[in-house]
C-alpha cells in the first residue's frame, strides 16, 4: 500500500479540476487504437461483400474498385452450380435437428444430475466433465469405425448423433448449474398437486429453465454451424456436405481456376445467418459467456 501512496504525491492537485488533462490524451490514444482494431476487423468483411458482386475477371484486374454493375450472378451460380444451396439445406437440417436433440437430452441429463441423489451421480458428472477437455482428434479414427459399424457413416443422422454427443457435455454443465438454482418448493408443490415426474419436468421445470436454455442454445447453434472437423472426417459423401465443408472443398478443388466471385458469394451466404443471429442476440451472448465460465 505504501507504494501506492508514494508515487501519487501529485495526484490530488491533478485530479481536483473538473477535467484532468491526462484524460483527453488517454481517451485519444485508446480511441485511435480501438478504431484501428475495428477497421482491421471490419475491412476484410467489407472487401468480401464488395467482391461478391464482381465478376472473377474484375476481381483479378482491379481488386479494390467498386463493381462495374451490382449483379447477383455470383450468388446464383454459387447457390446452384457450386452446390451451396444443397449444402445450406443439409446444414439447416443437421444443425436444427442436432440442436433440438442436444437441448432436450442435455436438459434431461442435467435435471436428473442436479436434482436427484443416487449412486454414481458424481461419477457420471465428472465423466462428462472429462469429455469436455480431451481433443476430438484422439477419437476421430475410432469414431469413423463406430459410425461405420452402426451403418451411419456418411449419413446425415450419423452426423447429427455425433454433433449431439460432442455438444452434450457443454450443455449439461451449463444447465446443471441452472437447474440447481431452481427452488425445491415448486417441485414439491407440483408433486403435492399430483403431477408425476414427467409432467413436473416438461410442464414446470423446463419452462422455468427457459432463459438458461436459450443462452446455451445460441452458443450451441454457433458451435454446430461452425463445425468442420467432424463432417470432414465422417461425412465424405458430396451430397451430404455441410456448408463449412462445402466451402472448403469449393475453394480447394478449383485451385487457380476458382470462380472467385462465386467463392466470395458463398462466404457471404455462410456468414449471413450467423451474423443475423449474432446481432439479434449479442447482448445475451455476452451474458452467457460470463455465466458459462464463472461456474
Amino acid at each position: 500500500m505504501s507504494a501506492v501512496t508514494l508515487d501519487n504525491t501529485a495526484a490530488p492537485t491533478r485530479r481536483s479540476g473538473r477535467r484532468a488533462p491526462g484524460d483527453a490524451l488517454v481517451a485519444g490514444t485508446s480511441h485511435t487504437m480501438l478504431i484501428l482494431w475495428s477497421v482491421i476487423v471490419i475491412v476484410p468483411f467489407c472487401w468480401v461483400l464488395l467482391s461478391s458482386f464482381k465478376t472473377s475477371k474484375e476481381i483479378l484486374a482491379s481488386p479494390f474498385s467498386l463493381p462495374a454493375e451490382w449483379s447477383f450472378d455470383n450468388y446464383v451460380s454459387a447457390w446452384t452450380k457450386a452446390g451451396i444451396g444443397t449444402y445450406f439445406f443439409n446444414t439447416v437440417i443437421v444443425v436444427g435437428t442436432a440442436l433440438v436433440l442436444v437441448m432436450l437430452l442435455g436438459a434431461m441429463c442435467a435435471y436428473v444430475l442436479a436434482r436427484f441423489e443416487f449412486f454414481g451421480r458424481n461419477f457420471i458428472y465428472y465423466s462428462l466433465l472429462g469429455g469436455l477437455t480431451f481433443p476430438v482428434f484422439l477419437v476421430i479414427v475410432p469414431l469413423f469405425f463406430v459410425l461405420q459399424g452402426i451403418g451411419l457413416l456418411n449419413t446425415l443422422p450419423g452426423l447429427i448423433m455425433t454433433y449431439v454427443a460432442y455438444a452434450l457435455p457443454f450443455t449439461v454443465f451449463f444447465l446443471y448449474a441452472f437447474f440447481k438454482t431452481l427452488p425445491d418448493d415448486v417441485y414439491e408443490a407440483a408433486m403435492m398437486d399430483g403431477a408425476g415426474e414427467w409432467r413436473t419436468f416438461f410442464r414446470i421445470m423446463l419452462p422455468m429453465a427457459a432463459p438458461g436454455m436459450s443462452g446455451v442454445a445460441i452458443f450451441n447453434f454457433l458451435g454446430l454451424w461452425n463445425q468442420f472437423l467432424l463432417p470432414v472426417a465422417l461425412n465424405t459423401d458430396r451430397d451430404n456436405y455441410v456448408l463449412t465443408q462445402g466451402m472448403a472443398s469449393f475453394s480447394a478443388q478449383a485451385g487457380y481456376n476458382v470462380d472467385f466471385g462465386a467463392l466470395f458469394a458463398g462466404v457471404v451466404m455462410t456468414v449471413l445467418p450467423v451474423l443475423v443471429v449474432y446481432l439479434i442476440f449479442q447482448r445475451r451472448i455476452a451474458g452467457t459467456v460470463s455465466t458459462g465460465t464463472f461456474r
Binding site: F134, V139, T244
Partner: protein, 365 residues
C-alpha cells in the same frame, strides 16, 4: 444499454428468486415412476455419450498399440512401436514444434490484447466522477466479438484471399501506400511469413471472444474497490495491474487453457489457410499430420497414437498453466473464492449483483 431486468434474463439467470432461501435437497423415496423416469432421462443422454465418446476413447488407446491399416481385418498388437516410430518421424516432430510455438505465441498475444481492450472499455474513462469505460465502448465490443460468430473455415478462406499475392487485399493496401516490394509477396507461400501470417489470423479470430469474457468479469468486480483505489491516488495503469488483473485471475487462467487447447488443435484454421501444411511444412500441425496419416495414407493405428500424444500434450499444457498460475499467487485467492458470502446458489454472488445492478450502474461501467 437496456434495463437490467432484460440483462438478468440475457445472462440466462432467473430474474430473481422469490422464494429467497437456497434450494433444499433431500433424498427422496425411489418409486417405480421415479425409477423409470430417471432411467430414461439419464439413460438416453448417457448412452449417446458412451457410444460416441467413451467407447471411441477406449478404442483409440487400443488401436494406438496396433499396426492396423483400417481396411483389412489384419491387426497386430505391436506395443509401443508406434510411439517409438513417432520419435523418429521428422514430419511429426516438425508439426509438434509448430504446435508448441503456436501455443506459446497465440494465447499470450490474444489474451494481452483482449485484456487491454477489456480494461480500456470498462475502466479507462474520465478520471473524475464514477469509474467507467470509454464512450462508445459498446460499439467496439460488438465489432470485435463478431469474428467469433463466423465459422473458422470461412475466416481461413477469407484471409487466404486477403493474403493472396496478386489480387489480395493486404498486398493491394501495402502497394497502395507505397511499399512496392509487396506487389506479389506470397504471405502464405514464404517459409518466413507463413507461420506469423497464420498466427495473426488465429489471434484476429479470438480476441473478441476473450474481450467479451473479460469485460463481463471486470464488471463483476465491486465498483467500490475502484473508487477506493482512486481515492488512494492510483492511476489507470496501477489500477489495471493491482486491482483488475488479480480480481479476474481465474478467468484469465480459464481463458489461457481454452485458447491453448484450441491452438494445440489448430486444424480448422491451418486446413483452410494452408491445406498442404505450408511451405516446407512450416505451418503443419499435429492434427493435420494425423488426418493425412489416417485418411490419406490409411495408417489408422499409427494415426491414433498421434491422437494419444496430442491428448497428452494437451494435459501437460493444462497442468503447466495451473502450476504457473498457482505459483504466481493463485492460491491466495482461493479462500476468498470459497467464502459462503461469495457464492449464491452455486454461482458467484458478485456476478448476480452485476447483473441485477441498477440501470445507471449498467450504463456507467
Amino acid at each position: 444499454m437496456s434495463a437490467s431486468a432484460t440483462d438478468a434474463t440475457a445472462a440466462g439467470l432467473p430474474e430473481e428468486n422469490p422464494w429467497g432461501a437456497p434450494p433444499r435437497r433431500r433424498r427422496r423415496k425411489i418409486t417405480l415412476d421415479r425409477a423409470f423416469f430417471m432411467a430414461v432421462f439419464l439413460g438416453l443422454p448417457v448412452a449417446v455419450f458412451v457410444i460416441f465418446v467413451v467407447i471411441p476413447i477406449g478404442q483409440a488407446l487400443f488401436y494406438s498399440l496396433t499396426d492396423w491399416s483400417g481396411f483389412s481385418p489384419v491387426m497386430n498388437v505391436v506395443g509401443m512401436d508406434n510411439y517409438v516410430k513417432l520419435l523418429h518421424d521428422d514430419t511429426f516432430l516438425k508439426a509438434l514444434r509448430n504446435n508448441v510455438l503456436l501455443t506459446i505465441v497465440v494465447p499470450f498475444v490474444s489474451l494481452v490484447a483482449a485484456l487491454t481492450i477489456a480494461v480500456v472499455v470498462t475502466t479507462a474513462g474520465p478520471s473524475t466522477g464514477q469509474v467507467r469505460g470509454l464512450n462508445g465502448s459498446g460499439f467496439y465490443r460488438v465489432v470485435s466479438f463478431f469474428p467469433y460468430a463466423v465459422p473458422a473455415v470461412i475466416i481461413g478462406l477469407l484471409w487466404a484471399q486477403v493474403y493472396d499475392p496478386a489480387a489480395g487485399l493486404l498486398n493491394g493496401m501495402l502497394t497502395g501506400i507505397g511499399f512496392e516490394g509487396f506487389t506479389d509477396y506470397a504471405w502464405l507461400g514464404e517459409v518466413r511469413a507463413a507461420m506469423p501470417a497464420s498466427m495473426f489470423v488465429m489471434i484476429w479470430a479470438n480476441i473478441g471472444f476473450y474481450t467479451v469474457l473479460f469485460v463481463a468479469a471486470i464488471k463483476g468486480v465491486p465498483a467500490e474497490i475502484y473508487e477506493a483505489a482512486r481515492i488512494d491516488g492510483a492511476g489507470r495503469f496501477r489500477t489495471a495491474l493491482s486491482i483488475t488483473l488479480p480480481s479476474i485471475r481465474d478467468n484469465v487462467q480459464t481463458a489461457y487453457i481454452y485458447l491453448g487447447i484450441l491452438t494445440l488443435d489448430a486444424y480448422v484454421f491451418m486446413a483452410a489457410l494452408n491445406p498442404g501444411g505450408g511451405p516446407a511444412n512450416s505451418t503443419l500441425t499435429m492434427s493435420q499430420h494425423l488426418m493425412n496419416t489416417a485418411f490419406k495414407k490409411g495408417q489408422f493405428g499409427y494415426a491414433t497414437s498421434m491422437g494419444v500424444v496430442l491428448a497428452l500434450v494437451t494435459l501437460i499444457f493444462a497442468a503447466l498453466v495451473f502450476t504457473v498460475f498457482y505459483l504466481a499467487g493463485g492460491r491466495e485467492k482461493k479462500p476468498k473464492r470459497n467464502t459462503p458470502a461469495f457464492f449464491a446458489h452455486g454461482r458467484p454472488l458478485q456476478m448476480l449483483k452485476a447483473r441485477e445492478g441498477s440501470q445507471e450502474e449498467e450504463v456507467r461501467r
